[in-house]
């Protein structure tokens, strides 16, 4: 233990000394986003050196636009993983929400603004369903969301009925696809929306009591309960909020491709988890930050884009992503190993 003979003077003018351990593990433990930051900077530099087109404004724009949807999904996933949960239904929830948004406007003739709200309500309900299963029926999150993955997928397919829905150009549903920027550097309002959400949740998780409680519940749910935190209430709110974020992701997705279809990337669920894990957020809960997830999502994007520009076959892109995940989780385990002093 840190045994020290303390000064017995009644008043000490300096604040109690901050012990800064020099060890790399302690460093990573205290700053879980440090690892992903280094990986991102190094990979950007390396890919930039391999192919100068990597740094072209057009390419940077494309990468940012690509990352908007997965970034939002990974944000919701992060909050859930912080509570030591996991959400396998992210992609399905998002697809269902966007189908409802576009479908109610185009097929049912509901005004676009109202269609957006209805879609968000559906997204909220998906979160509520997951939260209910986890907190009331005590189904482990992995199983609960595996089940709802099937349910939401089926609901989305049923509602869409194999159609691709194209909202009219003026629709608010396409707002997030609007391009901003100068010259060849152009980002969408969807990218800004995603960044704004990260800022908001960085604040909420780090600076509000609710944020503290999310971490405490993920860290040790029994300790949180004994500390007077309503753990079930916190968990339920986490799933509901994550559902709403998936709804926003659905909205951004419609804007990006100007249509809503159930036929989009089947790997969204795993990609969101990949971004979270590479971002240094612990799968075991209570550790990590949303900034890390954003870095994680960017790292995945940079690897995909950089390897493609370097002319590497797609199978190696998948290999690289897999190795990154394994490395990230191994580092996390190593960080978390109990240190007894």
């Amino acid at each position: 233990m840190a045994e020290r003979s303390t000064v017995t003077a009644p008043e000490r003018t300096t604040p109690v000394g901050r012990r800064r351990s020099a060890s790399a593990r302690e460093m990573l433990r205290a700053h879980p986003t440090l690892g992903p930051l280094v990986v991102l900077v190094v990979s950007v530099v390396v890919f930039g050196l391999i192919n100068t087109r990597f740094f072209s404004p057009a390419n940077l724009s494309i990468m940012l636009q690509e990352v908007a949807v997965i970034g939002l999904l990974a944000l919701g996933q992060t909050i859930i993983i912080l509570t030591a949960g996991i959400d396998l239904s992210v992609g399905a929830a998002m697809i269902l929400a966007q189908m409802v948004m576009a479908g109610t406007e185009v097929n049912s003739g509901v005004p676009a603004g109202l269609a957006l709200i209805i879609g968000m309500l559906v997204a909220l309900l998906t979160g509520l369903a997951n939260g209910f299963l986890v907190t009331r029926l005590h189904v482990p999150p992995f199983i609960a969301t595996l089940g709802t993955l099937g349910v939401f997928t089926a609901a989305g397919l049923k509602y869409a009925n194999g159609q691709t829905v194209n909202p009219p150009q003026s629709s608010v549903l396409l707002w997030s696809g609007k391009l901003l920027g100068t010259g060849t550097f152009r980002i969408t309002t969807g990218v800004l929306t995603m960044l704004a959400f990260y800022l908001v949740f960085a604040y909420v998780l780090g600076r509000t009591a609710w944020g503290r409680h999310v971490y405490a519940v993920g860290d040790d749910i029994e300790a949180a309960r004994l500390s007077g935190i309503h753990s079930a209430r916190v968990l339920l709110s986490v799933y509901v909020i994550a559902g709403l974020i998936y709804g926003v992701a659905g909205w951004v997705q419609i804007g990006r491709v100007s249509s809503a279809s159930t036929n989009i990337s089947p790997t969204l669920n795993l990609d969101s988890i990949t971004a979270v894990v590479i971002g240094g957020v612990s799968l075991f809960g209570g550790r990590g930050a949303v900034l890390g997830t954003l870095l994680g999502a960017l790292i995945v994007q940079v690897f995909q884009n950089g390897l493609a520009l370097a002319g590497v076959q797609e199978l190696y892109q998948q290999l690289a992503e897999g190795l990154l995940v394994i490395a990230a989780v191994s580092v996390d385990r190593w960080i978390r190993r109990e240190t007894r002093q």
């Binding site: 840190a2 020290r4 000394g17 205290a30 009591a209 609710w210 860290d219 040790d220």
Partner: protein, 257 residues
């Protein structure tokens, strides 16, 4: 500490009965705790110690009997109610969050928000004030093993974690602190730090209930010893009136109270 019959117990119970199916855990147990004393509760396994403590801390409701807090009859529905009344219970599994720092742990579940607009509208925490006050609590209790209030609890030793939990229990104007085997998992030196801390709590006028199997520790700390046997309080003795072996004999039924 001498106790006088005229003082009001801060926490008392009469005739507590609690059955679990066919098992009678409590069969008319009485209990009295006065301000400014350390009361050890000892008893063999199955004597009803933990059931008694759970009744007092609101974790379970007794089937029969009355509980009085500061002279007023109370019925706690859950531990939170007891806590709001001023009864803090420290469980063997320490209720600390390893990844949060000491100050955050002390304020866990009762965080302070900033009082300005930022706090009211955006619910921003007042981290600076929480750190400052947490540091004061720690200093006031003379806990010298906690050097830095911003350290994460996971890097602390068992004794230091215990100190964090005790500092938290003492920080919020509580009147009764119930400690369940506070030194069981600790080394000799750390245990003695925690014992010092318990004395400090008592000297500040708090009432401390100490549940322990460690007889030497009980005899070093307790002002009075409540001996529980077969669901009842069969004796209250003091370390001065009885020897350790006499107490053990009463506890196991080898000698009459």
């Amino acid at each position: 500490m001498t106790q006088t019959a005229t003082r009001t117990p801060i926490l008392a119970a009469t005739g507590l009965v609690k059955t679990f199916g066919h098992v009678e855990a409590l069969r008319g147990a009485d209990f009295e705790l006065f301000p400014g004393e350390v009361l050890a509760v000892i008893g063999d396994n199955g004597a009803g110690k933990s059931t008694l403590i759970q009744c007092l801390s609101g974790a379970i409701a007794p089937d029969e009997g009355h509980i009085f807090f500061d002279g007023v009859e109370v019925r706690f529905k859950d531990p939170l109610q007891a806590r709001h009344a001023g009864i803090e219970t420290l469980y063997q599994s320490l209720a600390v969050s390893p990844a949060l720092d000491i100050a955050s742990n002390i304020y866990l579940g009762r965080e302070l928000r900033r009082r300005d607009v930022v706090g009211r509208v955006f619910r921003m925490l007042d981290i600076r004030t929480m750190r400052r006050l947490a540091e004061q609590y720690v200093r006031n209790l003379g806990i010298e093993t906690l050097q830095d209030i911003t350290q994460r609890v996971e890097v602390l030793s068992g004794g230091q974690r215990q100190a964090v939990a005790i500092a938290r229990a003492a920080a919020f104007g509580s009147k009764v602190i119930i400690l369940d085997e506070p030194t069981a998992a600790l080394g000799v030196r750390e245990a003695s730090h925690v014992e010092d801390l318990i004395r400090t709590l008592r000297d500040r006028g708090l009432a401390v209930v100490l549940i322990s199997h460690n007889m030497p520790s009980v005899f070093r700390l307790a002002d009075r010893i409540h001996i529980q046997r077969l669901g009842r309080r069969i004796a209250v003795v003091t370390p001065q009136s009885h020897s350790m072996s006499e107490v053990v004999a009463i506890m196991t039924g080898a000698a009459a109270a």
